[in-house]
């Protein structure tokens, strides 16, 4: 595959939009299908139009596009046992956590600052830290201000669903194209173990009555969104022993009601976070348990596997939070929107996407043609663009792919503490990384030192930078073919 190497990094690092345009124009397009969109085979074109630049709704898009959340909605109308709203930490990456709550005007300033600097930005979401539908006035004011400045940005919200039905019509009017509802149960008896109370119709409900109202509102909201053609993703928190088996039922219900994606996320419950579950010793599932469960759900509502459980003020590509670069004190008071970088970036992505997709198809065909059963678990260090372009020591996460005769599938990610802090590796971190990579056969990265390579090997994990800067799928197929003896020429290291 002769990929036209247009370095997305060079585009995202330039400082002026003029420079960016020059860089964008110099990328030659070798693909004959130039200009067409590389839509996955399982999607109609109307749906593809809606998700093709939404990193959360499309696994393919998440290699290219970024979202940002603005934390304008701190008020919430329910209490979940996995949430503690008193807790706030800049180093934590999990939903509900923010460092800075914003007013709608501050949010607008921040969105403009990010849009000017981060060309990948395509989606603005409001995901709390409370509930975007309950704290509706602030959600609405923020979207209105941003949409009038940056009309092409996609708007999306996350909600627990309790106050959703009363706002569905406004959501449709305001062109909010993507909604995420967190649904952890369809049986109030299960819900009772997750939600100690809700606030609804001016009073607090507890126990089964609370869970029942929440359930009814969630189902109603989902149906209303589907009727209006708004794409809905359902997030479920997998809580071992509480709702893990029950999520099979949830998957069925939401599929029947038109949910576009189902995202099963692991419970995060360290005691230090002070959540009810955390303090009660309720554990979360590990990466292998989560994957095994997601595999069982295959065939139901389509699963999202690339969720990063982002902070409610996350900025940037999924898995690479740049939120700390855009705190209010770093943003000028007066700021005009300049769409140059975003437009140039989109132009380039439209061109290289087809090339990536062709490389991917070829890779999958190679894998399918190797006539050997068994699968290969590959962890990849990437900065986006669909390529292996991150150094082992700098990776904050590895994206996990499974290669088998049925193809090459993205199956999840593993978060790690970067091994290199300022140039040298730390042994304690490497031990943690090895633990996080349990079950992985190969690690692919742009660069790796001999020492970590050796230690990984001792733990049964082979690591190589031989495929540095290749497309992820192309490298995996070469690896798979080599491993099964059909083509030794491609693996050189």
């Amino acid at each position: 595959m002769s990929a036209p190497i247009t370095w997305l990094e060079s585009l995202t690092n330039t400082t002026s939009s003029g420079q960016l345009l020059t860089a964008a124009k110099s990328g030659d397009c070798a693909s004959s299908s130039c200009g067409s969109s590389s839509r996955p085979t399982d999607m109609d074109s109307a749906t593809w139009e809606k998700v093709k630049d939404h990193p959360c709704f499309s696994e393919e898009a998440h290699h290219y596009f970024a979202r940002m959340h603005v934390a304008v909605a701190p008020a919430c109308n329910i209490q979940c046992n996995y949430c503690n709203r008193k807790y706030d930490c800049a180093n934590e990456s999990r939903p509900g956590v923010v460092s800075e709550k914003l007013t709608p005007d501050q949010a607008l300033r921040k969105v403009i600052a990010v849009a000017n600097e981060v060309p990948q930005l395509s989606v603005l979401g409001i995901a709390g830290p409370g509930d975007a539908c309950y704290d509706w006035k602030k959600t609405r004011a923020t979207f209105e201000r941003v949409a009038s400045e940056i009309p092409d940005i996609k708007l999306c919200i996350s909600t627990n669903g309790l106050a959703l039905p009363e706002h569905v019509d406004e959501l449709a009017e305001m062109n909010i194209s993507h909604v995420t509802i967190t649904i952890n149960m369809v049986d109030p008896a299960v819900g009772e173990k997750i939600y100690p109370w809700i606030f609804y119709g001016h009073r607090r409900y507890t126990g089964i009555a609370a869970a029942k109202i929440l359930h009814e509102q969630q189902m109603l909201g989902l149906e209303m969104l589907s009727e209006r053609g708004i794409l809905t993703k359902v997030n479920s928190v997998m809580i071992p022993g509480v709702n893990d088996q029950h999520l099979i039922e949830v998957n069925k219900w939401v599929k029947e009601r038109g949910a576009f994606l189902h995202n099963v996320m692991p419970l995060i419950s360290e005691p230090a976070h002070g959540t009810w579950f955390g303090l009660a010793g309720q554990r979360g599932p590990n990466a292998l348990e989560l994957k095994a469960f997601q595999d069982r759900l295959e065939g139901g509502a389509k699963l999202m596997r690339h969720c990063r459980q982002c902070r409610a003020d996350a900025v940037g590509l999924l898995g690479a939070d740049r939120g700390q670069e855009f705190t209010l004190d770093q943003i000028p008071l007066e700021l005009d929107y300049d769409g140059g970088k975003r437009h140039a970036y989109r132009e380039v992505v439209a061109r290289i996407r087809d090339d990536h997709s062709a490389a991917k198809k070829e890779a999958i065909a190679t894998v399918a043609s190797v006539n050997i059963p068994g699968s290969l678990q590959v962890a990849v260090a990437t900065k986006g663009g669909g390529r292996i372009n991150e150094h082992f020591g700098h990776a904050k996460e590895f994206q996990v792919y499974e290669a088998s005769q049925t193809g090459i599938k993205f199956v999840g990610h593993r978060k790690v503490e970067p091994y290199c802090h300022g140039g040298w590796g730390e042994d304690a971190t490497l031990g943690d990384i090895i633990a996080a990579l349990e079950g992985i056969d190969f690690v692919l990265c742009a660069r790796i030192g001999d020492c970590p390579k050796k230690q990984l090997l001792e733990a049964g994990i082979q690591a190589t930078d031989a495929f540095g800067y290749d497309y992820i799928e192309a490298a995996i197929s070469a690896l798979y073919a080599t491993k099964h003896g059909s083509d030794r020429s491609q693996l050189t290291a």
Binding site: P74, A75, C76, N77, Q79, R85, K86, K101, P129, G130, Y134, D135, K137, F199, H202, R203, R204
Partner: protein, 64 residues
């Protein structure tokens, strides 16, 4: 006859502010405060004090 907010426990979510039927709650300086002259304890409006019912932190909206 009024409610008050224990500022050291408050998460500043603002839910009480927009649920209060008497517009008694305001963000002042660095914290949410209840104006005792305006607070009616929700009498005549709701059965239970709205600020206390919506607040996510126990014992944070309490009788003054």
């Amino acid at each position: 006859m009024a409610y008050k907010i224990i500022a050291s426990q408050c998460t500043q979510c603002g839910a009480c502010e927009f649920e209060c039927p008497s517009s008694a709650i305001e963000y002042k300086g660095e914290k949410y405060v209840i104006d005792p002259d305006k607070c009616t304890e929700c009498k005549g409006a709701f059965e239970l004090q709205q600020c206390a019912s919506v607040c996510p932190v126990p014992k944070t909206c309490v009788p003054a």
